[in-house]
C-alpha cells in the first residue's frame, strides 16, 4: 500500500486536468441585456437565439484540459423544434380538454390522471431536450451523443416521483441517482460510453440534515436561500463526482458555501429593483395626479393614459432587468463556479476516441418550451 492509494485508479505522476472558465463577465452581461431587449421587441420569439447565444458563450469559454468545447446548436433549430412541438401539442391539448370535460361529467376530479399524463410528457421532453444539447456539444472534433428512450426515462421518473411523494421527499436522493444513472448510461462521447457512479445513499448522507430541517427554513424565512444554496452545492458536487466517460472521471471540490452569494445577490437585486420601481410609481403618481381631494385624485389615476403607459414601461423595464440578473447569476456565475471547481481524471484515455453518433432533432427542446419544463 503506497501513500497515493487514497486516489484509487490514478497512476502517480499524471495530475488531473483542470477545468477553467475564462468568460468575461461584462461580455456576458451585454449579451444578456441585448438579448432581453430583443426578446421584448420580438414578443419573446428571440428566446431561441438568446438561449443559443448564452450556451455558445458558456461552452466556448470553458476550458477542459486547455481546449474549449463548442456548442453547435442554432436558434433556428430551436424555433423549428418549437413549431413542430406545437403542431403535436395543440391537438393533444384539445383532446385533453374534451376528455377532461367528459371525465368530470362522471366524477369530479376524474381528469386528474390526465394531468399526470402531462407530467410524463414533461419528463419525456426533459430527456429529449438533454439529448439535443448533448449532441450539439463537440469537443476536440468529436460529438457527445445520447441514445435511450425518452418514454422509458419518463416512466422511471414517474415511478420514482411517486416514491418520493410517498416518503415525503426522503427518497429524493435515490431518485436522482437512478435517473442520472439512466441518463449517463445512455450518454456517450464518441465511442466512450458514459456512466454514473454516484450513489443515492451518498447524496442522502450529505443532504439528510437539510431535508429534515427544511420545514424550519420555511418558517424562519431568511434561512431558505441558505438551505437551498447549501443543498444545491452538495448536490452539484455529488453529481459531478459521479460522472464517468469510459475511464475518464470528474471530481469537484465545490465548497458547500460556494453558492450562498448567488442567491443573496439575486434577492438583493430583486429588493433593489422593487425599491426603484416603487419610487418610480410614486414619482409618476406625484407628477400626474390631478388636483382636488386625495381620494378622488387617486381614483382618477387608472383612467389617466400617460400614467398607465408609464406604469407599463416601468413594469417591462423591471422584468427585463430582473431577467438579466437571473441569467447573470444563475446561469453564468453558477456555471463559472461549478466549472472551475472541477477536475478531470484520466483524460488521457479520451485522447484517441473514435467519432460516433448523430445530432438529434430539437423537437425535445420544443416540447420542453411548450410544456414549460426546464432541465439541465
Amino acid at each position: 500500500m503506497n501513500q497515493m492509494s487514497f486516489v484509487a485508479g490514478q497512476p502517480p505522476g499524471v495530475p488531473p486536468a483542470p477545468v477553467a472558465f475564462s468568460g468575461n463577465r461584462g461580455r456576458f452581461l451585454s449579451l444578456a441585456s441585448r438579448g432581453a431587449a430583443l426578446e421584448l421587441v420580438t414578443f419573446g420569439f428571440y428566446r431561441f437565439w438568446l438561449v443559443t447565444d448564452i450556451r455558445r458563450h458558456l461552452w466556448s469559454h470553458t476550458l477542459v484540459d486547455g481546449d474549449a468545447p463548442e456548442y453547435t446548436g442554432r436558434g433556428r433549430e430551436l424555433l423549428v423544434g418549437f413549431l413542430f412541438a406545437m403542431a403535436i401539442l395543440v391537438p393533444i391539448y384539445l383532446v385533453y380538454f374534451v376528455i377532461g370535460i367528459e371525465a368530470e361529467r362522471f366524477k369530479a376530479f376524474a381528469s386528474v390522471p390526465l394531468v399526470i399524463g402531462f407530467y410524463a410528457f414533461g419528463q419525456f421532453a426533459i430527456y429529449r431536450a438533454r439529448r439535443y444539447r448533448l449532441t450539439r456539444t463537440v469537443w476536440r472534433g468529436v460529438r457527445f451523443w445520447m441514445d435511450g428512450s425518452g418514454w422509458a426515462y419518463a416512466w422511471r421518473s414517474m415511478l420514482w416521483g411517486l416514491l418520493v411523494l410517498v416518503t415525503l421527499g426522503g427518497a429524493y436522493a435515490w431518485r436522482e441517482a437512478a435517473l442520472e444513472r439512466y441518463k449517463m448510461h445512455h450518454s456517450h462521447y464518441g465511442d466512450l460510453q458514459g456512466s454514473f457512479e454516484g450513489r443515492g445513499w451518498e447524496l442522502f448522507k450529505r443532504t439528510w440534515g437539510l431535508w429534515l430541517f427544511g420545514p424550519v427554513a420555511w418558517i424562519i424565512f431568511p434561512l431558505l436561500p441558505i438551505f437551498y444554496a447549501e443543498f444545491k452545492a452538495r448536490e452539484w458536487r455529488w453529481w459531478l463526482c459521479g460522472i464517468r466517460f469510459g475511464d475518464v472521471r470528474l471530481e469537484s471540490k465545490l465548497p458547500n458555501t460556494a453558492l450562498y452569494g448567488l442567491y443573496w445577490k439575486v434577492i438583493g437585486w430583486f429588493l433593489l429593483f422593487d425599491l426603484v420601481i416603487g419610487a418610480y410609481v410614486a414619482l409618476c403618481v406625484f407628477l400626474l395626479k390631478g388636483s382636488g381631494p386625495m381620494e378622488a385624485a387617486m381614483q382618477a389615476l387608472p383612467k389617466n393614459i400617460p400614467f398607465m403607459v408609464l406604469l407599463v414601461i416601468g413594469y417591462l423595464a423591471f422584468i427585463l432587468a430582473f431577467n438579466v440578473v437571473m441569467r447573470l447569476y444563475f446561469q453564468r456565475d453558477l456555471w463559472a463556479r461549478v466549472a472551475s471547481s472541477t477536475k478531470v481524471h484520466a483524460i488521457e484515455s479520451a485522447e484517441n476516441v473514435t467519432a460516433k453518433g448523430e445530432a438529434a432533432s430539437a423537437l425535445g427542446e420544443g416540447f420542453a418550451d411548450g410544456l414549460d419544463v426546464a432541465g439541465f
Binding site: G44, E70, Y71, M86, V138, V142, K303, I319, A355
Partner: protein
Amino acid sequence: MEFTANTAEQAAPDPVRSAVYYDGKSSRKRTVVLAFGDKLVISGEGLPSESWDYADIRRADGAPGVLRVSCLSASPLARLEIRDATLAADLESRCARLGDNSLDGRSIARIVGWSLAAAASIVLVILFAIPLAADRLTPLVPASFERRLGDAADAQMKAVFGGHACKAEAGQAALVKLVDALRKSSGLDLAVEPAVLDTPIPNAFALPGGKVYLLKGLLAKADDPDEIAGVLAHELGHLAHRDSVREVIYNGGTSFLVGLLFGDVTGSSTLIFASRSLVTATYSREAEQNADSFAIEVMQRLGRSPKPMGELLFRVTGKEGDNPLSILASHPLTEDRLKRMSELDRQAAGPPLLTRTEWTELKSICGPVSKT
C-alpha cells in the same frame, strides 16, 4: 496547382506556421503545418494532406485567443485551431466568408420582422378565429359541466365579495317571484337560484348553472322594481346565452396563444394576463350587448319599460365617456345603454312586477334600510 512539398522536409515545423488539427473522425490532437496557396493546405505527420477552399472556411466558436475554423467541404466536425495571432490574422484575411455563420444585424432584423408578423397573425386569430370557435363549441359543452363550473366560481365569488346571502324570508320570496316572472316570460328552461349578497358593492352577476346574485349595494340604489327587474333579466340573458362557458373557451384559447408568444420570459404571466384582458374586453362587450337585448325583450314582453334599468346603471356609474380608457371596459358605456333603453321607453302596459309591500320587503332583505 498542386502542393507537393514533402512533409519530411518540414520535420521541424516552423512554430509560426503550426496549428492544431482535429480530423472530425477521432479526438486525436495533431500538430499540423499550414500552407497558404490557392487553397489552405493542412499537412502533418501520418495525415493525408487536406486542402480547404478559402470560401468554404467558417469560424467556429473557440476560446478567447484561439481562432477555430471549420470547412463546409471537409468532415463537418473537422476543426483547425490557431493560437498564433499573426497566423490567425493571415488566415482571416484570406477567408472572405469566415463570419457567414454568425448572427449579424441583417439576420437579427429578419428575426424581428418575422416575429412581428407572427405576433400580428396571432392577434388576428385571437380577434376572429377564437370567437368563432367559442361560439361553435359552446353548444357542445354539457350542462353538467357548466354547473360544476358555477359551483367552483360560487365559492370564489363569495370569498371575493365577502358577503353572505341575505335570508329575510319575505324579501327572498319577493326576489324569487320577480325572477320567476322574468324567467317564464323569457322561456328560459333552467332552475335559477337568486340571492342577495350583503355587500356594499353595486353590482349583479350570474354564475354558470343558474345562480344569480344581486349585491346589496345595487339594491340600495334602486328606486323601483323595474330597475332591478331589468338588471336581473340582463343576468338571465347571460345564462340563456351560456356566456360563461363561451368565455372559458375564449379565455383558454387566448391565454394559450398569448402564452405561445411570450414563452419563458420571467414575469410573462403578468404580460399574458394584461394583453389578454385587453383583447377579451372587446369580446365581452358584445356579450353584454346581447344580454341587454335579452333584457329589453323580456321587459317588453312583460309590458314594462326597459328604461329604468338604464337609469339605475347611470345612477351607479355616472357618465363613462370621459374616461379615455373606456375602450378597454368590458361593458358598453352606460350612457349608450341608457340611450338605447330610453328609445324603447313606453307607457307600462302590464301589471307591476312586485306590489308596494313586496318591493319594501325586498329592499330590506338584508335588514332595515336606514335611508328613507
